[in-house]
């Protein structure tokens, strides 16, 4: 599938979520065992069945200082732009470009890609039309004629799903191959996988991958709750008492390039992308295969892509969203591949909630951190593993990964399963 002689490495990371706005900050929260899930502030939750979330605490101008930009972007875009900026800064990619001869800068930009995984849209963005509906008193004719008096001309531009792609591209002049993936939960992790594939494929020399989302909003909470997918407290992945997930929000980003290019420009190598798997269970929008079929196949594909045996894997960062069906079928899929020799399993949604489109890429950044530090934070909310799941190597305490290789599992609506294999560079 790929050119094995070319290692793809990670040279920059960015993250923002309820647990912090740098990898170190988020790591402290994971290590402390204290969840960032708590009472939310975006609306008054007193009458709501769900009163907690993992909200980003940093203010807008801290994340994106450019005041003008805020007029044309939404909250989720702000997270994505911030994370991508951090990753680009850590990689020193643009500093390297700016030091090149002027004639080399254009070709460098043309060979620098940007692939973003986005949530695709928010219910709240449409609320800009609510005052117009009041004004129109139920008349669609009046809705149309009063439209331009009541709604900002920038409405569509503020809410384009591919805004982060556009603005990060403009800011950095990243003019190469690009995509905006809107595949619900799989979006962010697929941005990383497609980026590595594109470099292996020769479509670009380096790619900034980012994923962002702000699923935490009233209608989302309501519908997830009605579907039985919401907990009322920090999620308890794999625990027998687990009752659902909790929303987080934020973004993460990584810079990917060939190891030889990173070495040539003297960039610090933080980790290696080894391979990935991606498949659908063909079960429709919400349903899951009871046998964990998609999880199993995505893991097997990732191991095959990365030329790994199951025994090479030293850590699994599970999707572990805390819902009854997903955690159970995920454990079944993992067991199918690893049998009785499952490596240590952890997952981080207890700490920063479920970031939906950004969930997988945030997990990639933090799993890499765990491998680099040779310590995987446990799941403190998983006090007693569900007997239906059986013997499963999750712990409330930190454990030592049994090798420098980890799998990150991400599952989503549409029967999606994506697995990425990573190696730490220490």
């Amino acid at each position: 599938m790929k050119n094995a002689s070319e290692k793809i490495v990670i040279t920059g990371r960015g993250i923002v979520c309820g647990a912090g706005a740098t990898p170190d900050d988020v790591w402290s929260v994971l290590e402390s065992g204290e969840t960032a899930v708590g009472p939310y502030s975006q609306w008054d939750g007193e009458k709501w069945p769900v009163q907690v979330a993992a909200e980003v605490k940093e203010n807008n101008r801290t994340l994106v200082p450019d005041r003008k930009l805020h007029k044309t972007i939404s909250r989720t875009d702000m997270f994505g732009i911030y994370a991508a900026d951090q990753a680009i800064a850590e990689s020193e990619l643009l500093a390297h470009r700016d030091a090149l001869e002027e004639t080399e800068q254009g070709p460098f930009n043309d060979r620098t890609g940007l692939i973003v995984g986005a949530g695709g849209g928010n219910y709240s963005s449409n609320y800009d039309y609510l005052p117009l509906i009041t004004e129109a008193e139920g008349s669609l004719q009046k809705f149309g004629s009063e439209l331009s008096n009541m709604v900002t001309p920038m409405w569509l531009l503020k809410n384009l799903p591919n805004n982060v792609l556009c603005h990060v591209g403009i800011r950095g002049q990243l003019k190469g191959t690009n995509a905006c993936i809107t595949n619900q939960c799989s979006s962010g992790i697929m941005a990383v996988a497609e980026s590595a594939s594109a470099i292996w494929n020769g479509e670009a020399d380096r790619i900034v991958a980012a994923g962002h989302d702000s699923p935490f909003e009233p209608e989302m909470v309501l519908y997830y709750h009605k579907l039985g997918l919401m907990s009322s407290e920090a999620p308890k992945p794999f625990d027998e008492q687990r009752s659902g997930t909790i929303f987080g929000e934020g973004a993460a980003s990584v810079v990917l390039e060939r190891e030889s290019d990173a070495e040539a420009r003297g960039a610090e190598v933080l980790g290696e992308f080894l391979g990935f798997g991606c498949c659908s269970e063909a079960t429709g929008i919400l349903d899951l295969d009871p046998d964990g079929d998609g999880v199993r196949r995505a893991i097997e594909q990732a191991l095959d892509d990365a030329d790994l045996a199951p025994s090479d894997v030293g850590l699994i960062c599970a999707h572990g969203n805390g819902t009854r069906a997903s955690d159970l079928t995920e454990s079944i899929g993992i067991r199918h591949v690893f049998g009785d020799a499952i490596p240590p399993v952890t997952g981080f949604k207890w700490a920063y909630g479920h970031l939906i489109a950004a969930s997988g890429i945030v997990d990639i950044v933090m799993t890499l951190e765990a491998l680099r530090r040779k310590s995987a934070p446990g799941i403190p909310t998983c006090e007693k593993v569900d007997p239906e799941i059986g013997d499963f190597p999750v712990s409330t305490e930190s454990v030592t990964p049994s090798s420098d290789v980890a799998l990150v599992i991400c599952r989503g609506f549409g029967g999606m399963n994506v697995v990425v294999a990573l190696r730490a560079t220490s």
Partner: protein
């Protein structure tokens, strides 16, 4: 880039639901006849909007397209188009996933924006706003608020992907992309890449969209992107004409079945074309404006030609993005002229948006299908409504009548808001064979 070892990919099935026809052949016949799909909007009362015309899909029966009532319930209008077009493409190709090979089938879609239905927003309004119409979250907690899980499912960014995978039993790689008007082209490009890297042996790739609803059209009206020639719907979309004044919003879906070339030959499949090359760039200019000098689209076209191991000399037809906005058409022509040089006078160019309108996330996929049909029949469809030459757009447009003549290879461009540019190259199967002999 190991260009000599690229896996060759065949297009063996086409499905289309468009404003000019609910099947591939109906659409193609209408395009050759220069028939417009634009008319006063009938889906809803658009009389108050600055634009009251659109290119709607007509007489579409979602229930016959989506036989499973459970899927139909969760399908939006655009999902219905997608399921119908995909079913046609698979039937046309004469293959579909089996339990044995379903894990080798992939799916790549360009999906429209998650725009909420007006009626659903009206319900939120009626329960959860104050007297001025400002949102009040607690209104959603009223015990009789009709929170519908079905609406929620329909609204998910990958709902279309999930429905397609389920209906056809596709269990391999699956991706859903949205780069505005470039989505459909990017989806087909993503499919090509996934097949070349061996991730799938068969793929269903395409796009679907429907923004012809009150909220969907509002965004474009606010931006002033739509033609306001309300008294002349069929003449409103006039790409490259000097008097062009915006696009006509369309809706629909297009899908291609892609498979390994050798396997297609082996099973005796009819091959429309080789999906030969994909190019993909970001303009990094402004969010809606196109770079006047074509910088951005130029790179995408060059990449697509390079990826197809070809040059401008082999391209006999360009299906242009040609939206009929001042900026896009000027920028695209600058790019075409920069890439093709003097050859631009020989290459037939047309924008079929002149008839179909702009299908947004579906546009690139539908126009890719048009390229395949143009290659099959050796004829270039027309660029309708072109009357007043624009010196900035002096390319060799197919005007008046469709222009016959063998097409060795065709190029299609899709240029999106946000600056994503997608170009695809399709090659005549006879040229593939002669290439191999020589």
């Amino acid at each position: 880039m190991a260009s000599t070892e690229k896996r060759r990919i065949a297009v063996t099935g086409i499905g289309m639901v468009t404003p000019v026809g609910n099947t591939t052949e109906e659409t193609w016949a209408a395009l050759l006849a220069g028939k417009s799909g634009a008319a006063p909007i009938s889906n809803f009362d658009a009389s108050g909007f600055s634009t009251t015309i659109g290119a709607e899909v007509k007489g579409f029966d979602a229930a016959s397209a989506v036989p499973d009532p459970r899927l139909l319930k969760c399908a939006s209008r655009s999902h219905g188009f997608a399921l119908a077009a995909a079913a046609e493409a698979l039937a046309d190709a004469g293959i579909s996933p089996t339990p044995e090979d379903s894990h080798r089938w992939g799916l790549a879609v360009g999906a429209g924006m998650m725009s909420v239905a007006y009626d659903d927003l009206k319900v939120v309004h009626d329960y959860a706003t104050d007297e001025n119409g400002y949102f009040d979250a607690d209104g959603l907690m009223k015990p009789d608020f009709p929170a519908s899980p079905v609406n929620f499912c329909r609204w998910q960014s990958n709902a279309g992907l999930g429905l397609l995978a389920k209906q056809f039993g596709i269990r391999g790689y699956a991706t859903s992309v949205h780069t505005a008007c470039a989505s459909g082209g990017q989806a087909i490009g993503s499919a090509l890449k996934a097949m070349r890297r061996g991730q799938c042996d068969f793929m269903l790739a395409g796009g679907f969209d429907s923004m012809l609803n009150p909220i969907g059209i509002s965004g474009f009206c606010l931006l002033g992107a739509l033609s306001t020639d309300n008294d002349n719907p069929t003449g409103a979309s006039r790409p490259f004409d000097k008097t062009r004044n915006g696009f006509v919003l369309g809706e629909g879906s297009g899908f291609l079945v892609l498979e390994d070339w050798d396997k297609a030959i082996e099973r005796g499949a009819t091959i429309y074309a080789e999906l030969a090359g994909d190019g993909n760039s970001l303009s990094c200019y402004r969010i809606t404006d196109s770079p006047p000098d074509g910088n951005g689209p130029i790179q995408a076209i060059h990449q697509a030609l390079g990826d197809a191991d070809t040059t401008i000399e082999e391209i006999d037809y360009v299906n242009a993005h040609g939206t009929s906005t001042q900026m896009n058409d000027r920028s695209e022509c600058a790019a075409m002229k920069a890439v093709f040089g003097e050859r631009i006078d020989e290459v037939r160019v047309s924008s079929t948006k002149s008839c179909m309108g702009h299908l947004i996330a579906a546009a690139g996929a539908v126009e890719a299908a048009v390229c395949c049909l143009a290659i099959r029949d050796g004829i270039a469809p027309i660029n309708a409504n072109y009357e007043n030459p624009d010196p900035d757009c002096d390319v060799n447009l197919v005007v008046g009548e469709p222009r016959p003549g063998r097409i060795r290879a065709a190029l299609t461009n899709s240029l999106g808001f946000g600056g994503s540019n997608s170009s695809l190259v399709f090659r005549n199967p006879e040229n593939v064979n002669s290439k191999e002999v020589s």
